[in-house]
Symmetry: C2
Subunit: 299 residues, 2 copies
Amino acid sequence: MRTYLECIPCFFRQALETSKVAGANVRIQKKVLDRLGSELSGLPLRQSPPELAVTVYGMISRLTGKRDPYAAIKARSNRSALRIYPAVKRRLDRSRHLLRDAVRFAIAGNIIDYGAGQKLNIQKELRKILGSGKRPAARVALFDLPQLERALGKARTLLYLADNAGEVVFDRVLIETLKGLYPELHVCYAVKAGPAINDAMEEDAHACGIGSVAEVISSGSGAPGTVLRLCSAGFRRSFWKADVVISKGQGNFEALEGVRRPVFFLFIVKCAVVARDTGHSAGSMILHYVGKRSGPTAK
Amino acid sequence: MRTYLECIPCFFRQALETSKVAGANVRIQKKVLDRLGSELSGLPLRQSPPELAVTVYGMISRLTGKRDPYAAIKARSNRSALRIYPAVKRRLDRSRHLLRDAVRFAIAGNIIDYGAGQKLNIQKELRKILGSGKRPAARVALFDLPQLERALGKARTLLYLADNAGEVVFDRVLIETLKGLYPELHVCYAVKAGPAINDAMEEDAHACGIGSVAEVISSGSGAPGTVLRLCSAGFRRSFWKADVVISKGQGNFEALEGVRRPVFFLFIVKCAVVARDTGHSAGSMILHYVGKRSGPTAK
């Protein structure tokens, strides 16, 4: 997906937010915004938002002197999500449609997103999304579940593209379910090679215990989305060869939309631009299948 | 109120929105954002948002070639609000606390704000805000109503600072109520001297029929908020001499907060910055009294 003009105010909001998280004082925060402003006309909007974000977040890192501003937040998200893990598993034990409900949990975990949101209480947000005794669940559009089921039934390899720290725990729940349903399935779990907002890196994958059910690999890039052009050759091979690709989060969707292979996108729609692009309103939890188009592109 | 760094993403959002409303193509829209970006470091943030907005909207007007992008929207808002007027009056006829309920309507009318919001359905928004048979009304914080009642009881002159087109109809309802309660009160209704987003100008005041209950005057400035430094000397005299000043809208609050005379601010809190500043969460409908501080400042 290209970057739309509507994404620009959002870049400024994220730049300010990240500068604050990095502990920068107001003078540095202002410097970050001014620098972004002065570089704005040169940013190539034909690139996807996560690709542009590499430039923007790189600049923020240099000006604030913090290589990984979200490190503490990521560690906290991992811990919070792990505390919820047993309850999620108990709920799944009572499920009569394991795959559907595990997919729902995985998408719900996508609420842990500091690029689009602000401070959040994971448990409260999950209750809101999944519904509780009194309250119905949020809109879920899992129209493409039958395709996923069919694809998994025939697959030997699954590449699972991670999004955020903490969210990994919910990916683990889905992968554990998949391993139960399809014991022969080999799963690769791809994380970012370097800090990108609160995106999961190898340490987060291991902290959340995903190593026991999947092979953890790196995308080779620190973009907050799988921008194939910036990924390692090894990762790209895995991407094109995998029987099924599940992609978590809006950043990965923005980066991979239009890529010429089938991908199952699982995420919560977080802004009006992607809402327009997918046809699902902001806040929707979606399983969005982008189907068969042949062969790799230059990307 | 000074401009905070959090206002900067909002300036970009508003600049884009206004360029679209002005009918600019994507190339010009981008040019507007780029220009705002390149001028960002030079904007004096010690100025209030409405004062800065003069610079920003002036630039948008020059680049889009539209002096008054919101002209059609303003005319439409006036018409929509006038259609609701009879129903509002009927509701007030049944009221057992006229002043309180008229103040509530006047604040509710502040939902007609294209600077903070987007497209809107006035009737739907009002129903949401004022409550209907089934649904309770939104949070209203009229804590300072007794002070307003006391001040009006002793007043001979009231200066009423308008905010948006359409909203004027709801101001008219309040002013009509005041004239009923305090027949001797002389009311001046101050509008902007030039186009500023969808702020009311003289033609809007007259279209909404306010001329029958108040003397319509101009602030002498086209800022989207009463920035005294930019107002005419005549207006400033009225401002300092009036027994009571009622100020509508967040823009006027941003411009006048800290001014050294008592002002009753009536508005819906529209962003996190002003929420922090007033102590009322975004979406709150407030009557906010900023009390006695002696004498005019250099402002």
